[in-house]
Symmetry: C2
Subunit: 430 residues, 2 copies
């Protein structure tokens, strides 16, 4: 494949992964029977406005609702109010919307239905500080954890215990109404309790866990937070809590299903797909080194499969920040991959966030070609310095190799594809 | 497979990988025609005494020789003198042996043959400080680079430029004799110029490269080293150097061939082998997280292949030291893998150094079982604390799960196998 064909191929894989998680496609399949009573639609997340639009467009009955999404991720709705708020650091608009959602679901009857449309990003967007805490308290803890390299599970445990809505508290507030949650997963393992901090799902974690996480990362919480963690008198609903026992959840889009959609595209174009994992975690630059080793193996020995092949993976890598540059984890992964591959012939890659936003930039991701390093060197752009400075955005921007989709209105986490073409110059040297 | 069967299976894979690189098996296949003149056998490395023994046992003519190996890695030879020296930090015995080797190959004629038996570890074992440098000077730089996390390529570049024997200088000294090098590779990519710092191979690196590496890691070299790097007037032989143009090299054992031997054992036992790479690099604990992601995928979705399967890989991971505990990179990898897998059912692993020594301990590696974390917790052994303290040896020692082979007298670098058994409790939950 020539350079333009390989770029187009990789972009088709990425687009297929995103399309497979498009709310307009998947939400209609999962509509419940309309209830005898009222229908309330609530929700939060990067995909949730698009989910709301798909829901109301296909819902036969009355409804009212309120959904929070990230700035720029709104979709025009007629009956469900859409609020845009800040992400990943919570703001007042998210807080006010969360309070209004709690009010909306309180006092419902057993015949009423609450549909919760939850997707990645809901943790930050659906922010209702627990009694006695301010948004500033929660923001301080959130920022400290984000910068410390805490895992999403750890951040969510803390969030649930500082919140009036997360960790099943939303479902508890809606009791005795029926609660149905439609989920688009962006988390490794697709655990409903983790996606968006599980506002309608029983919480397996405790105040003791939250205190251990704060200690682990040496975070010094504001006094009100410390007092709440110590008091531990407002525990999240556990699985046997009658207020939450009836709540149902449905996974309507996942990283794995999107990877399988990309694999189908590859197969149709006679490229063998290898799905390495839908939940790959690790430091972005180290994950890149391991994947470079696998890509070398395909080229050198035809293992695990011979080229042309494409190594597909999802999940969420981490960037422990060292520099002050621009770029998210996908561009960082790709820059480290370029350095590790050292221009390996016939090898192209794409990495992007399926929500369309890598980190907090305007790109979804970037593309790597065999001559990425050579083109950078020709422009005087130092790959290793950009990696060390956490400045992968600037690196790929200088090459014109950013992938820009705009917000996709869905989110099944990261998508990576490393395409290894066959060797047109004869068999690979062993 | 039950616990004992799985442990036995993994050990058979590891043993097969080692056996495939056994000098007694491979050296006889590669004997050259005896020369008209004299035959001198020299060499260095963890496998080199065993290579020497195999060589002299199968050599039809006269010979004399001297080979340096690591303490504990000697093999009884009748005609070739074996010297044991320290590794990974060079000592006086290695230095004296290197000087004697240089003397032995000087003044030879065109009809004479020098056979160099080179294997991993030769860099540290074959130490001849360049004129004006002391062994202490080289040791200081070596130690600083080892601790800094420099790559083996980077360490070797520096070694070649501070040495009287590395980087092709041995072959240059033997000119005009024929030089044949038999290599057992322990380096990613199997580049003869890298294995044992390539004493008989033209060196592509320069004094400028060496200076850049010192600067990169902030190493402050002793004054004599700094002066030599600055003067740069004793460059290593380059590929067009007539003293080295005739030198030949043969790769007689490699990580890949050993992985393929393990794959054959797996296949014979109806377990599907997946060779991920013979040259996987990266921080041990991060490589473990990525491999855990792939192992989860096999179990959860049957990708890249369904269980029962075994993920095989070689190469060399790195431990950037943070604690003061005991353990090499293989036990560190395995401990991080245990933490990442969180007791995944049916999942076992072995990781070991094929030379029989993980780091500087008495074990080759260790074994992981699905209940590794549970057994550790029951004994009050804290997995995360041991990982943070670089104390994986103590962790697996406490569980009785060290793998001890003793020195194997060969070295094709690390070997990792993650065995994922089929789910005996019915299909995996998705």
């Amino acid at each position: 494949m020539d350079d333009a064909s390989a770029r187009g191929f990789l972009r088709r894989l990425f687009d297929a992964a995103i399309a497979e998680a498009d709310p307009a496609r998947v939400v209609p399949r999962w509509l419940p029977e309309p209830p005898k009573g009222r229908t309330i639609v609530v929700g939060a997340g990067k995909a949730s406005a698009a989910m709301a639009r798909a829901f109301e467009a296909n819902w036969p009955g009355e409804l009212k609702g309120l959904v929070v999404t990230r700035y720029g991720h709104a979709a025009p709705c007629k009956r469900i109010e859409i609020v845009e708020a800040d992400h990943p650091v919570p703001d007042e608009r998210g807080r006010d919307a969360a309070r209004r959602i709690l009010e909306m679901v309180r006092g419902l009857a057993e015949d009423d239905l609450v549909v919760a449309l939850i997707s990645g990003g809901a943790s930050a967007l659906l922010t209702a500080p627990a009694e006695g805490l301010t948004l500033a308290d929660k923001q301080a803890v959130n920022r400290a954890l984000l910068a410390s390299g805490a895992s999403i599970d750890e951040m969510n445990c803390l969030r649930k215990h500082l919140s009036a809505i997360k960790g099943g508290r939303l479902a508890a507030a809606a009791f005795p109404a029926r609660v149905l949650t439609l989920l688009i997963s962006d988390v490794p393992g697709d655990d409903p309790a983790t996606i968006g901090s599980g506002p309608t799902v029983a919480d397996p974690t405790s105040f003791a866990d939250a205190r251990a996480i704060v200690a682990k990362y040496g975070v010094v919480p504001p006094p009100a937070v410390a007092a709440r963690l110590a008091a531990a008198d407002d525990e999240t609903p556990k699985p046997d809590d009658p207020r939450i026992a009836r709540a149902e959840t449905r996974l309507i889009a996942t990283p794995q299903v999107s990877l399988m959609a990309a694999a189908a595209v590859a197969r149709a174009e006679d490229v063998a797909p290898v799905i390495l994992g839908d939940a790959i975690e690790g430091e972005s630059r180290e994950v890149a080194r391991v994947f470079a080793g696998i890509a070398r193996q395909t080229r050198r020995y035809g293992q695990p499969v011979p080229p042309p092949c494409v190594l597909l993976s999802g999940g969420e890598t981490t960037v422990t920040m060292r520099g002050k540059g621009r770029g998210g984890r996908n561009s960082a992964f790709l820059l480290a991959l370029a350095i590790a591959l050292q221009g390996q012939a016939g090898t192209f890659a794409i990495a992007g966030d399926t929500d369309g936003v890598d980190g907090s930039e305007d790109n979804a991701g970037a593309i790597l070609t065999p001559d990425t390093l050579a083109r950078a060197a020709a422009k005087g752009v130092d790959a290793k310095a950009h990696l060390a400075g956490d400045d992968a955005y600037s690196f790929f921007s200088a090459l014109g190799d950013l992938v820009v989709t705009g917000p996709t209105l869905t989110n099944v986490n990261d998508f990576r594809a490393i395409f290894v073409d066959q060797n047109h110059g004869g068999p690979a040297t062993i």
